[in-house]
């Protein structure tokens, strides 16, 4: 049992592939303390509690009881899917459709590969069962549920000793009665076994997508449950009784109790935190529309935030190879889930991505990564293939003696030699030009990712601010902005751990949805009102378990719509009117026409519009911590200059006359006063990151120490 904390402190913990980041915020003063410990993949809870303890120890005045809550982002669910370490799970469906998971979408994950393999189904065929029953598309009973066939299946499942059962019967999104009866029979016979019904998890049509989501929910549930239990115990041992909240894929948090019941909503918990952090930062500084750019050691993630909210999608596959993010062509290599996921594109471009020359003589970067071991050549840990980090070092953008705050000296000559042998010589380029090329090509891939989340969704990147963070983000952000035509860049305080801060600036969100699938000119308006009412009641109920949320919940209503005959819906906010009447409907349809025109370039006025799903999100507001202002102010940045060095800039020869190695001032970020203004080229260093300011950009340090960069 968790009780609301009495104190004023909050902790966020984000577990990454290499490091576990902790952030502690003092709600009263805005003081932020961070901790970084090595991740412990064998038992992530060990790293988790180490990060928490380190935070508590760093501020001697804090007692564990002073904590209000602990928010956690975890990849435990994703990893269990990718590594095939799911709980033993059975699947029940309608007679005649046992192979739904096995057949999946009947497509191959790659077009020209004769040696391809299909991803194995998450439930093996011997654990897939059929019951005799059938509904039609209106939810009417064609074949009544045969209780005897249910009893037989339940008995066989009991013999097979599973930890979880997923049930997905045809058309249950329309009429859940048969599924519920199967669920009751399972619960009666199999106490302690997790039962997930598709009509509870995602009551939406298209059986394979619903089944896949339900199976993942069931199969990760025992794992998530054990993991969160272990974390709760460790927190209790440490004297922490504050509520444990978990980050969802959608960017909201929910109580650990809800996470155990609906773990499929937290599958992409980790990446969502970064987007939320960017959204919160942007909003607090008066920039509600931002592009979030989070670049670490192996990947870069970009997402779009509008009106302070990350864009959320439901076209998503978990564990897909060559993930193109959430586009319609996610392909057949992963497992689809139909829960809201922050719409982000993740690409294999991180500091460790390897540069190479292909058989046609083109310079390429990634998708292979040197990772942390052996890592880039310059680490001197045995790496032989040049990486983006090596290129940045050769270009003078990184300081060999101040990497990780000087804890890890970098070998410039080894990086140069590797780039010469692998890239420069084969292409007939100088080492600097080749290094520059490596960075530019990686930037291009990231610009494409930015375009996918912006232009392709109908948003002009020029209307946004780019927020660059993650260890490698600040070195690339300005150049990306130039290429994508983005006029402003924000580099937050502590960019290396900014993601963990995102955990502390979001609300409790509980998703609810109902499928309608009815034309706007045929729907009974009272039915819409009744469904929203029902979702609201359920939302209020779920809100009660979230101790940290203050006051009454707020409800966000939206409708997923399409032209009658289309297959892909656009989500439209429900009109903010007191009654659901003819005016409400006409405003809704008009909003849909607008959204469709924005997304696809045309509107079909007068064509029937279909209302597919009603969504209601119950939001329990959590007060935001105040940010802390810098203590020193002054316009003169020169106090922070720690030296000069040669840095390579080439991209805007015409504009600035700069090309090649340019003598550049290096600033110590910690010494920059609020209000300082200076022009690029410049390098700004801090222990966990380096910001590269290209010529013709101006830096302004805001009151809180964020860097606001403008052309």
């Amino acid at each position: 049992m968790t009780i609301p904390g009495t104190g004023r402190y909050r902790i966020g913990v984000d577990i990454g592939g290499t490091f576990t980041d902790g952030t502690l915020v003092d709600s009263a003063t805005g003081q932020v303390t961070t901790s970084k410990v090595l991740s412990t993949p064998a038992d992530p809870a060990t790293g988790f509690i180490a990060a928490v303890k380190k935070l508590l120890q760093s501020e001697s005045s804090i007692a564990p009881g002073d904590l209000e809550h602990v928010v956690h982002a975890t990849t435990v669910a994703t990893n269990s899917i990718i590594e095939g370490k799911l709980a033993k799970t059975a699947f029940i469906t309608t007679e005649g459709f046992r192979d739904m998971l096995e057949i999946a979408r009947q497509i191959r994950p790659s077009l020209y590969d004769l040696q391809f393999v299909k991803p194995p189904p998450l439930v093996p065929r011997q654990l897939c069962f059929e019951v005799s029953e059938r509904l039609d598309a209106k939810g009417q009973v064609v074949t009544p549920l045969d209780e005897q066939s249910v009893a037989q299946v339940v008995e066989r499942i009991a013999e097979s000793k599973v930890e979880a059962v997923a049930v997905c019967l045809l058309h249950s999104y329309r009429n859940p009665d048969h599924e519920r009866r199967v669920g009751e029979a399972l619960r009666a016979r199999l106490p302690g076994v997790i039962i997930s019904l598709s009509s509870d998890v995602v009551p939406e049509f298209r059986e394979y997508l619903r089944a896949s989501t339900t199976v993942i929910n069931a199969a990760v549930s025992p794992i998530v449950s054990r993991y969160l239990k272990s974390i709760s115990e460790k927190l209790e041992d440490a004297g922490v009784t504050a509520e444990l909240l978990v980050m969802q894929s959608s960017g909201g948090v929910y109580p650990a109790e809800a996470a155990v019941r609906s773990p499929v909503f937290m599958v992409e918990s980790g990446p969502a935190a970064g987007a939320v952090a960017a959204a919160a930062l942007g909003s607090s500084l008066g920039y509600p529309n931002v592009l979030s750019f989070d670049m670490g050691g192996t990947t870069a993630k970009v997402s779009l935030i509008r009106n302070g909210q990350p864009n959320v999608t439901k076209d998503y596959s978990v564990g897909g190879a060559a993930q193109r993010g959430t586009g319609a062509f996610g392909g057949a290599s992963g497992y689809p889930i139909r829960t809201p996921v922050v719409d982000l594109v993740e690409i294999g471009a991180g500091g460790g991505s390897i540069a190479w020359v292909d058989s046609g003589g083109a310079l390429r970067v990634g998708p292979h990564s040197a990772g942390a071991d052996p890592g880039p050549v310059c680490y001197g840990l045995g790496g032989t293939e040049p990486t983006i980090t090596d290129a940045n070092l050769v270009l003078g953008r990184l300081d060999p003696d101040y990497f990780a705050g000087g804890e890890m000296p970098l070998d410039v000559e080894a990086a140069q030699a590797a780039i010469r042998v692998r890239c420069a010589d084969p292409l007939g380029l100088s080492v600097e030009k080749a290094a520059y090329g490596i960075v530019e090509i990686a930037n291009t891939a990231m610009v494409n990712a930015l375009r996918l989340v912006s232009v392709q969704r109908g948003h002009d990147p020029r209307d946004f601010m780019l927020v660059g963070f993650g260890g490698a983000g600040p070195a690339h952000a300005v150049r990306l902005a130039e290429q994508a035509g983005i006029p402003r860049v924000l580099i937050p305080v502590g960019p290396g751990t900014a993601s963990a801060l995102g955990l502390l600036v979001t609300d409790v969100r509980m998703e609810g949805s109902a499928t309608l699938i009815v034309r706007s000119d045929e729907v009974e308006l009272s039915r819409i009102a009744a469904e929203f009412k029902r979702l609201e009641t359920a939302g209020r109920e779920s809100h009660k378990i979230a101790a940290s949320a203050s006051g009454d919940p707020v409800f966000e209503r939206s409708v997923e719509m399409r032209y009658w005959g289309q297959s892909f819906e656009l989500s439209v906010p429900a009109p903010d009117l007191p009654d659901i009447d003819a005016r409400w409907m006409s405003e809704l349809v008009e909003a849909f026409n607008d959204a469709h025109e924005t997304a696809y370039g045309f509107r079909a006025n007068g064509e029937p519009v279909e209302l597919v799903n009603l969504r209601l999100t119950t939001v329990g507001k959590i007060a935001r911590p105040q940010m802390k202002k810098l203590e020193t102010t002054g316009t003169d940045a020169s106090v922070a200059v720690k030296g000069q060095r040669d840095v390579y800039f080439a991209e805007d020869v015409e504009n600035s006359g700069h090309e090649g190695m340019v003598q550049t001032s290096v600033y110590d970020r910690a010494r920059l006063p609020a209000g300082a203004v200076f022009r690029g080229p410049a390098i700004i260093e801090e222990p966990d990151s380096t910001t590269v300011i290209h010529p013709s950009w101006t830096v302004k340090v805001d009151d809180y120490g964020n860097l606001v960069l403008q052309r």
């Binding site: 049509f205 090329g437 291009t444 892909f568 997304a599 045309f602």
Partner: protein, 577 residues
């Protein structure tokens, strides 16, 4: 222009941007389309061509289209006359005898202008669910192309950004599923517009001269890499013969022959020896045969190789005119893709001795169309539905053939049962794998699948498929996969009566009638008696293979009480084999 003058960085940037433009076209098309065939099954393709009509970049959707598209688009544009194209125009075409394929595959081609200058073309092809003709969904066995639907020579559907309403009404008047078709055409227009915007952005950024120069370089780059890949292929002459099971009117097989010559000059495909064209739907146009050869060659190369003119120029095809591999007017063509996909299997069969680790055994190697339509009693609209079904994939030298997937140039998704039943008056009664349908082998072929369609109301149903006489071939001692079955099941009061259907036929369905497809399994690779008994056991435990078949075809005795291989009995069974 020498390579040295090229900035490798700008090169990679422009190359990615051009690919991205085609991908964005595909996303716009899919998400705004109306028919299940386009929006869900992804039966479409998108590409960008330069001003000289060379293929530059493609979206990775359906390789069958992409291979034929590169022939159709240049011919359509040349026939219409590029000089007759203004900014904002789009031309429509599906003429099989104008470089096209079957009539359902309609291309929409848009010139791209930059500052008034023609700089290239965006083009998208969508398989329309109906184009008129003798049966709903425009699939069926007919004698002449005229019976197969509306033939559209290159015509200007969109003039300076505005649809020609008269023309559009004329086209729609021929078509059963007017609402869906209207939506799909609109999606094609949106797709081309999206592509053009992206291309213009690229030119704005780099300038027109650089744009042209780098397109040349992208094609030359692909050429260099393709040449290097071709040089790695084994030299020699490789041949195979096979057949399409029947032509839809006569029961005799349609013979296909292919000869592949690989020497210092490259790779040449020759279909001499294939049967004369039929007055039946199995004829492939030259574009379709070219597409089969292009797919086969591409599948033997580095997976990372771009596909554009620099690759296609290495695909040399001699298909004698007047044969089923290069038919002449007015032969019907709707089933030409069946011939095309069999050619694919034959090419891999021919190359197997030389490339044993690169190829796969026989796949389902048919498109396997299921088309139906009629009046929807709820809406009063004429509806049409089309889908193609998966089958078993062929085994490879180190792995089993996957179960129930599309093969070769075809990679269309299945239609979700719930979506299908919501939109059309049909009930899918079964959709499942067929145990024991695999071609046995050390590595087994994939399982075929069964899909049963029950009609509560009258409807017209067309089977346009193949493989009911011989299953997909095995390799190196592997055995063929099962043959397909197409059956009509009538409930006649005294129980169910099942009647076998031809693989190419149109049937009038009475309320309650069921059509059952059971598609072929994939061919096996290597001797089944060499298969690891544990793999046999795993298949038996999963219910994919029966105990009897494990014993008789693999020489493996399974002890079902112990869930284990009976080793001594297995040794006994395998002795002397």
């Amino acid at each position: 222009m020498t390579t040295a003058a090229i900035d490798p960085i700008k090169f990679e940037v422009i190359r990615n941007a051009l690919t991205q433009a085609a991908e964005e076209m595909a996303i716009a098309l899919r998400r705004s389309a109306y028919s299940t065939n386009v929006k869900t099954r992804q039966d479409f393709s998108c590409a960008f061509f330069d001003k000289d009509l060379r293929s530059v970049s493609q979206a990775f959707t359906q390789p069958v289209h992409l291979g034929s598209f590169v022939r159709h688009v240049p011919i359509a544009v040349e026939r219409y006359g590029p000089e007759n194209l203004d900014p904002g125009d789009m031309i429509l075409s599906n003429d099989p005898y104008g470089g096209g394929v079957h009539l359902n595959d309609i291309s929409l081609i848009a010139p791209v202008h930059w500052q008034g200058e023609l700089v290239g073309y965006t083009a998208c092809l969508a398989h329309h669910v109906d184009v008129g003709g003798g049966a709903p969904a425009s699939v069926g066995a007919f004698r002449e192309v005229f019976q197969e639907g509306i033939i559209i020579p290159p015509i200007k559907l969109v003039a300076r950004g505005k649809i020609d309403d008269d023309l559009f009404r004329l086209v729609l008047a021929q078509i059963r599923s007017k609402r869906e078709t209207t939506g799909d055409f609109r999606a094609q227009i949106a797709s081309n517009r999206t592509g053009a915007l992206r291309i213009v952005e690229i030119i704005d950024r780099y300038g027109i001269d650089e744009f042209y120069r780098y397109i040349d370089q992208i094609i030359e780059y692909t050429d260099r890499r393709t040449r290097a890949e071709v040089a790695k292929l084994p030299k020699g002459v490789f041949e195979a013969k096979g057949f399409v099971d029947n032509d839809g009117f006569t029961d005799g097989v349609v013979t296909l022959a292919v000869k592949i010559t690989i020497d210092d000059d490259g790779v040449r495909f020759d279909t001499t020896g294939s049967d004369p064209q039929r007055r039946a739907p199995v004829n492939s146009t030259y574009a379709q045969t070219f597409s089969a050869c292009a797919y086969a060659l591409r599948a033997l190369m580095d997976r990372d190789l771009p596909v554009n003119d620099g690759f296609y120029r290495y695909v040399h095809v001699n298909a004698p005119e007047g044969t089923v591999t290069n038919c002449v007017h007015p032969a019907p063509v709707v089933g030409g893709w069946e011939t095309h996909v069999r050619l694919n299997d034959l090419i891999f069969e021919a190359l197997a001795p030389a490339l044993p680790d690169a190829v796969c055994a026989g796949t389902k190697a048919m498109q396997c169309h299921a088309g139906f339509g009629g009046e929807n009693p709820e809406t009063g609209e004429y509806y049409c539905f089309l889908e193609t079904l998966a089958g078993g994939y062929g085994a490879r030298s180190t792995s089993d053939g996957p179960d129930a997937v599309q093969c070769h140039g075809q990679n269309t998704e299945n239609a979700p049962v719930e979506e299908t039943e919501r939109n059309y008056p049909v009930r899918i009664a079964r959709y499942e794998l067929i145990p024991d349908s695999e071609g046995p082998g050390e590595f087994r072929g994939g399982l075929g699948l069964r899909r049963d369609y029950m009609f509560p109301e009258e409807a017209t149903f067309t089977v346009l498929a193949d493989r009911d006489k011989a299953g997909p071939h095995g390799l190196f001692g592997g055995e063929p996969g099962s043959t397909s079955v197409y059956a009509l099941i009538k409930n006649q009061g005294d129980g169910k009566h099942e009647e076998r259907l031809s693989s190419k036929t149109t049937v009038q369905m009475q309320p309650g009638d069921v059509i059952s497809y059971r598609t072929s399994g994939g061919g096996g690779y290597g001797s089944a008696f060499a298969r690891d008994p544990q793999h046999v056991l795993a298949d038996v435990l999963q219910g994919k293979l029966s105990v009897e078949r494990a014993r008789s075809r693999y020489g493996v005795e399974i002890d079902m009480a112990a869930y284990a291989v009976d080793r001594s009995a297995t040794l006994e069974l395998r002795r002397g084999k």
